[in-house]
């Protein structure tokens, strides 16, 4: 009954594990830090679009909540993540040194659904969000899709994974708000030019960007899948803090958990304009005393 272009992303094939893993490599990348973790069980299970959740600061830490970080890549036995030092938690993560150990849970969340073999794809990354698309682009290429990529950021130092994308996608359009690298402007400008050739669009980055890219894709009648970032307390689906208004298979909107039903949602299923509000037509809004207008 739903007239939407996407179906909800299916569950991941494998359940997550919890492990204390060692940092085996650390590399500053512009404004970010790339950490490589020896985590074979997570590497084997992970699919593009999934994330991991790190415990912060050890036993005596005052920070209880895990920090969710997208999986940027997996190779034999290791998992790579790109961390942007922001507040205390991500700053602690970014300061981890080679040989130090960290408690991590993953892979978590639902991966990007792959299109029929051969369907041309456009991947769009904002800031460190680009990192999460490298593995996806490679997977798409293997399954016969032509892959174009757009990656953008506020400035050159906030770009990420441009070279890696170059190896698995072409063209790779780069934009920066200040023109300090690539073309001056927003990813949406480049997206507008490349979207015509795409049969499916994938995006990862800030909410505002996801909203714009999903809007462009839907307007062009092309299915899109976005990996969202919502504040998460548990990352595994038990706390209900990470919800967004998302349109389900049945066409009804529910507060869906970004960590368990997401982070990958159909771009035309996330009601971006209603995030942070309680629309009357969300399932169960009536019980909250919200009445239809």
């Amino acid at each position: 009954m739903s007239a939407l272009l996407t179906s909800p992303a299916p569950r991941a094939a494998n359940p997550p594990v919890q492990r204390v893993v060692e940092v085996v490599a650390r590399r500053p990348v512009n404004a970010y830090v790339e950490l490589t973790l020896a985590a074979p069980e997570i590497a084997d299970r992970a699919e593009p679009g999934q994330f991991v959740a790190f415990a912060i600061g050890g036993e005596t830490s005052a920070m209880l909540l895990r920090r969710s970080i997208a999986i940027a890549g997996t190779a034999d036995g290791v998992v790579t993540v790109v961390v942007a030092p922001h507040g205390p938690g991500s700053t602690w993560l970014a300061a981890l040194q080679v040989g130090e150990r960290v408690d991590v849970v993953g892979p978590l969340g639902r991966p990007f659904p792959l299109p029929e073999p051969g369907v041309p794809a456009l991947v769009v990354g904002g800031g460190y969000g680009a990192a999460a698309l490298v593995g996806l682009a490679a997977r798409l290429g293997e399954s016969g899709s032509a892959v174009a990529a757009v990656t953008g950021a506020a400035s050159a130092d906030r770009l990420c994974s441009v070279d890696e994308l170059g190896e698995v996608a072409s063209p790779v359009a780069v934009t920066t708000d200040d023109g300090s690298a690539g073309r001056r402007g927003w990813v949406t400008d480049a997206v507008a030019e490349l979207i015509g050739d795409a049969g499916v669009v994938y995006a990862c980055g800030p909410m505002a960007m996801l909203r714009a890219v999903a809007g462009a894709a839907t307007a062009a009648g092309i299915p899109s899948y976005v990996a969202v970032e919502e504040s998460m307390a548990c990352g595994i689906g038990v706390c209900m803090t990470c919800v967004l208004p998302v349109i389900g298979e049945d066409g009804r909107t529910r507060f869906s958990r970004s960590c368990a039903e997401g982070p990958v949602f159909g771009g035309d299923r996330v009601r971006f304009a209603d995030v942070g509000t309680l629309p009357w037509d969300v399932v169960g809004a009536d019980a909250m005393g919200v009445v239809a207008p």
Binding site: L64, L65, S231, I236, C242, G284, A287
Partner: protein, 312 residues
């Protein structure tokens, strides 16, 4: 470690219902249990205390719903959930099929809601008993929270006890945000509560220094985690000394086996682990093991011997 463990009899009970382990989930901190399956053997823990359910499905509050605080967190979920129909149709059967014990938390805004929920849960397979979440606004009294008024709290408990399956122990879940928790405890046990769950979250608030407004959509929220543990232990201590015969399901900031031990020594015959699960999804099994080892090291042959031992 295993040998140490098996030396101690960890079995206890929720009122009349025996359980093999004193470690339970905390309502709202493990949803309906499913998501913990990769991390814990749910059949080995005392029970899954389910997210508080109401009569109708609820969307819960708009985001943001949480804020991290020093050694704790603030939450304002708004009891998002499937409602009693969804619970009976999907969640409880899933738990029952796997042999997982459930302790069902019920919530409402009118006394009759609580009673109807209790009635709907009579004889449901796998359900051990009921936890009554009275930390909800009472629509009949200008939204004052039931748990903050001994009389209103007693009304709810009496109605639930009358409507509930006689085989289901009824635990009243108390709020610490009261001047005299012992009087509330006394009032609900007089009204028929078979046990007490304590504590629920403390009312708190955090302001976002950037927006310069409260972080939470609901303005205030519930404070939980190790930060509140001393308050929770004080409540358990006070109530156990006043009502030594009343079983207590202790909770509030339990993160390790030694934390759980403090609650047992203070008078709790079982414990719930809430926020710590967000930090460590395998906390339940770990805490059971650590508590068993701690009891063994202290020469206890059984958990029940240690209950209230700090009052000696």
């Amino acid at each position: 470690m295993t040998t140490v463990e098996t030396a101690v009899d960890m079995s206890t009970s929720l009122g009349s219902a025996p359980i093999p382990s004193p470690v339970l989930t905390a309502s709202g901190c493990s949803a309906f249990g499913r998501e913990l399956e990769p991390f814990d053997d749910l059949t080995a823990i005392g029970a899954v205390v389910t997210k508080s359910v109401q009569l109708r499905a609820r969307s819960g509050r708009p985001t943001p719903r949480m804020a991290e605080t020093p050694s704790g967190m603030l939450n304002s979920i708004g009891l998002q959930g499937p409602g009693i129909d969804g619970l009976l149709a999907d969640e409880l059967p899933w738990l029952a099929e796997r042999g997982v014990r459930s302790f069902v938390s019920i919530a409402g805004t009118r006394v009759e809601d609580f009673a109807e929920l209790a009635a709907r849960l009579r004889g449901v397979p796998g359900v051990l008993g009921l936890e009554v979440n009275i930390s909800c606004p009472n629509v009949e009294s200008r939204g004052e929270v039931f748990a903050c008024d001994p009389v209103a709290a007693a009304d709810v408990v009496a109605a639930v006890r009358a409507a509930a399956d006689p085989a289901h122990p009824v635990y009243a879940k108390l709020s610490p945000d009261v001047t005299d928790i012992v009087s509330v405890a006394r009032s609900v046990t007089d009204a028929g509560a078979d046990g007490l769950s304590m504590i629920n979250t403390l009312l708190g608030l955090v302001i976002d220094p950037d927006t310069m407004r409260p972080v939470l959509g609901g303005v205030t929220g519930g404070l939980s985690g190790p930060a509140v543990r001393p308050v929770a232990l004080r409540c358990v201590w006070q109530v156990h000394s006043a009502l030594p015969g009343v079983p207590i399901l202790g909770m509030g900031g339990i993160r390790s086996g030694l934390d759980a031990l403090q609650f047992v020594l203070a008078g709790a015959s079982a414990v719930s682990v809430g926020t710590a699960v967000f930090n460590d999804p395998s906390a339940l099994s770990r805490i059971h093991t650590e508590l068993a080892a701690a009891l063994a090291q202290r020469g206890f042959a059984s958990l029940t011997e240690a209950v209230g031992y700090a009052h000696r």
